[in-house]
Structure formats: structure tokens, C-alpha cells
Amino acid sequence: MAEIVSLADAVAELVHDGDTVALEGFTHLIPFAAGHEIIRQGRRDLTLVRMTPDLIYDQMIGAGCARRLVFSWGGNPGVGSLHRFRDAVENGWPVPLEIEEHTHAGMANRYVAGASGLPFATVRAYAGSDYLKHAAPNVASITCPFTGEVLTAVAALRPDVSIVHAQQADREGNVQLWGITGVQREAALAAHRALVTVEEIVDKLEPVPGGVVLPTWSLSHVALAPRGAYPSYASGYYSRDNAYYVAWDAISRDRDTFNAWLDEHVLDSQGANR
């Protein structure tokens, strides 16, 4: 049974220095509030895992939370580069960042393997790509025992903690999310501990077409975090703030501007940036 606790308590209990932490949400339902809480609690040396480390990981990397990043696409969608990510990779600021990168299909299937309790998954991805050598040892060629075909094996991802954001939970901690559901189900089930932040807690979950339900007994904690995916969006609740994504380019380009932003919008703030 997932306990419903405050976001601050959930992060304090579930996320430790040095952990491997996955915050997932594919453009939609990105757990920004949880990421900001991790920054506020000063976590260090995290291995951050995420298919698309966009603004939330740029912020966490710039704040010095991460030692290592495992990902498959690191950009500001439709805008350009992630400048804090680039500064960490290119210049080691504020701390050096190791990277391990994959393709989307590779990352998605690493979560699938983790959620399935298998050591690896098999894909056609990576064929002819330099990632075959750079993503080693978590990617390797494998020969199909039935057909002899050579495919790519990707190692299972088993994060210490996965954090996703959802629209609703009921009072027992059962969760429902809908719209673009990305890889959240797999990320939550692959992890040793799973935290879901939600827009609201309701008496009863009404089934939604295409909805993904995560039963309370598969989760560690549920925390209420209204607008917790802002500036990404929560279908049925609020829209994506595209202007924030555009504005982030200038804020993140410069270390001092970024630090000022961090002080004002995350460190001095009790809740998520509005």
C-alpha cells in the first residue's frame, strides 16, 4: 500500500545521495515539483535516468545534484540546447557529469526489461550506430537462439527510485494517468521504490479511455503536488507553458542568471515554480 505523504517527506524518505533516480514523463506529466524538491533537499551524486532530460534535468544538473546521466535525447524540445547539461559535459560545471547515452528504443526497452524482471531486452535498434560501442557495457550484440539473427541486447534498468506525475490518486493511493503516458508505467514498475505525485486526490478513480492505472500496492508513496508538472502539462488540468521553455534558453545560458533563477524560483520557494 502506498502511503500518501507530503512531497517533502516522500523525497526525504525515498531519495538518497548516490541513488539512481528516474524521473519520467514524455513531454507530458513531467514531475517538475519532485525535481525541485530534490534540489531543495540538496541531494548529491545522483545517477539521473531519463529518456528526455529536458528542463527538469537541466535544472537538477545545474544545481549540482547529478554525478551521472543516463539518457537518450538531451535537448530543449523545439527550442535548442540544454545549456546547464552542456556546461556540465563540456566544462564540468558545477560538477563533472558522466554520461551514458542510448537510443529511445533502447532506453524504453531497458525499462521494459526492468519492469518485467528480466536481465535484458532485445531490440533491432543501434544497428550500425556508434552507440553500440559507446553505450557498452549496457548494450551488446546477441544472437537469436532460434533464427541466428544478430540483434542488440540492452541491460535492464532498475532505478533505486522512479518518480512520475499523474492526474489523480484515490485515498488508498491507487493512481490513474492518461493522455500521453510515455514510459511511466514501465519506469514505476522497474524501480525498487516508486513515488507518484498527483494533481489531485479524489474519492473514486473513474476509468478514463487510454488511462494507465498503477495500483497502490505497486507504489511506495503518493504525494499531492497540484501543478506539479508545470511548465509541462497535465492533460485535463493545464496546458504546456511554451513561453517558459523558450525563456529557459536565455536563463540557462549563463551561470549567474541560472543561479539567480534557482535561488528565486526553487530554493526560496516552498512549492513548484509558478
Binding site: H28, A108, A127, G179, Y245
Partner: protein, 263 residues
């Protein structure tokens, strides 16, 4: 050709180079195609095709939206407009495993930071040292599997010696390798890139060598300037033709889509 952003819709010749590129790429798509779309220029081109000559085209984005019909260009591949207008929304593992990987999707539409003469693509790093890159680019996303598993691939990329390079700094997505047989040797069963549409013209792989060859130029562009914008000795078809300028309908579709977007 006019480079300014404010060409009048009434005058098709006022199209910018980017608009010409986008329209030319759009024309490569057929009605009823299924198309896996990258964000940015590929998405603009695919949606112009949908709004003009290819109303039946099925647009698929890696966020899991199948049959999306956005009313304006999405800023990201997961914008809500894509989900709300889609025939189906599936998970990310499903879009890659069940829809892309089994060669179910006809055309992959990709961008590039660097491309070489065999249409191999780099979107990972600029610089010779992977661990200390000169420029860190976003990385792979779904491009390697789109390049590998769509039945054919169209690349859309602005042309300059910086993007059309002799040697890639990193092979993110396989085009034709070093020539015939390389895709098969990598375990791929698809055709790979069939066309590269740039802001100067159109390049297509030679049937025998698979090396890109200039086959078309955009209106107002001469062959010499395309050669000058290419980082290798560019092969030129003996029958280079000129792309038809955008129609009023095509330009209107593109500009209406761009309202509120960043394109």
C-alpha cells in the same frame, strides 16, 4: 530567392529558403503514406503535405501519437494538440516495439546536425573526442530506429560545409554506411535514405554506389553554389532539374501552421 521572413502569400516567389525546403520535402510524401515524424522541419513538412496533396497521410510521433492532425506546428513531439487530434495514443515502448520496429511505418522523416555523402547522420557531438566534445548535441532520440526500421527515410537539413561533411564526428543513425551492402551487414532490411532535401536542392543516392547525387536545385539556386556548400566533392546528376516554386496553397498551409509556433 528572398531570404526575408515576410514574403507575401500572394507571391510564391517570395518564399524563404526554409519554406522552399519544407515545401519540397512535403511533396516527397504521398497520400496514404504512414510517416514517422521528427520535430521541427520534418514536422512542418509532413503537416504541409497533410494539408495540401496528402490528406490521408498518417503522421506518427515518437510520443506515441498515431494519426495526429495538429492545427498548428507543435513545439515538442508530445504537445497536447497531437494527442487530442490523434486516432490513437500509445505508450513509448509500444510505439517503438509494435509500430516502428516491425517495419510497419513507410517513411521516416529525419533532421541532422551533420550528414555525409552516404546520408549517415550525426546528432550526437561535434568534435573528435566523444568524452570532450566541442559541442554536445541532443543525441539519438528515436532517430537510429527510425533510420533503421522505417521502410524508407527522407532527410531534411539546411546545407552548408558545416552540415554536409566529409567525415561524421559520430554516426548516430545509419544511412548507407560506406556503400552497398553495409545496411544489410548491420542487420537492417529497409531501404534507408532515398532523398535528402536541403534549402538549396534535392540529393538522391546513386542507384549503384548509394552516394548522394544532386538531382534538383531550388528556384534561383545554381549548381555551383550547392557544390560550394558541400564538404565533399559533390556528384551532380547530368540532368539537374529545378524544383517548382511553392504554390500559394502550399505556402498558405505552411504559414498558417507556423502561426503561434517557432518555425
Amino acid at each position: 530567392m528572398n531570404d526575408g521572413p515576410n514574403g507575401s502569400i500572394a507571391d510564391p516567389h517570395a518564399a524563404t529558403r526554409d519554406e522552399m525546403m519544407t515545401v519540397a520535402a512535403a511533396r516527397s510524401l504521398r497520400d496514404r503514406d504512414t510517416c514517422f515524424v521528427g520535430i521541427g522541419l520534418p514536422s512542418a513538412a509532413a503537416n504541409v503535405a497533410r494539408l495540401t496533396h496528402a490528406p490521408g497521410i498518417v503522421l506518427i510521433y515518437e510520443s506515441g501519437t498515431i494519426g495526429a492532425r495538429p492545427t498548428r506546428l507543435p513545439l515538442s513531439i508530445g504537445d497536447e494538440d497531437l494527442a487530442l487530434t490523434a486516432r490513437a495514443v500509445v505508450s513509448v515502448p509500444e510505439i517503438f516495439n509494435y509500430w516502428l520496429q516491425p517495419h510497419r511505418i513507410g517513411v521516416g522523416f529525419l533532421g541532422a546536425a551533420q550528414i555525409d555523402r552516404f546520408a549517415n547522420i550525426n546528432t550526437t557531438i561535434i568534435g573528435s573526442d566523444y568524452n570532450h566534445p566541442k559541442v554536445r548535441l541532443p543525441g539519438a532520440g528515436g532517430a537510429p530506429e527510425i533510420a533503421g526500421c522505417c521502410r524508407e527515410v527522407i532527410v531534411i537539413v539546411r546545407q552548408s560545409p558545416r552540415t554536409f561533411v566529409r567525415q561524421l564526428d559520430f554516426i548516430t543513425s545509419l544511412g548507407h554506411g560506406n556503400g552497398p551492402g553495409d545496411r544489410e551487414a548491420a542487420g537492417l532490411r529497409t531501404r534507408g535514405p532515398v532523398k535528402v532535401v536541403s534549402d538549396l536542392g534535392v540529393l538522391e543516392p546513386d542507384e549503384v554506389t548509394h552516394e548522394l547525387m544532386l538531382t534538383q536545385v531550388h528556384p534561383g539556386v545554381d549548381v555551383e553554389s550547392v557544390i560550394a556548400a558541400t564538404g565533399w566533392p559533390l556528384r551532380v546528376s547530368p540532368n539537374v532539374t529545378t524544383v517548382d516554386p511553392p504554390t500559394i496553397e502550399e505556402l498558405q498551409a505552411l504559414r498558417q501552421l507556423a502561426v503561434g509556433g517557432l518555425e
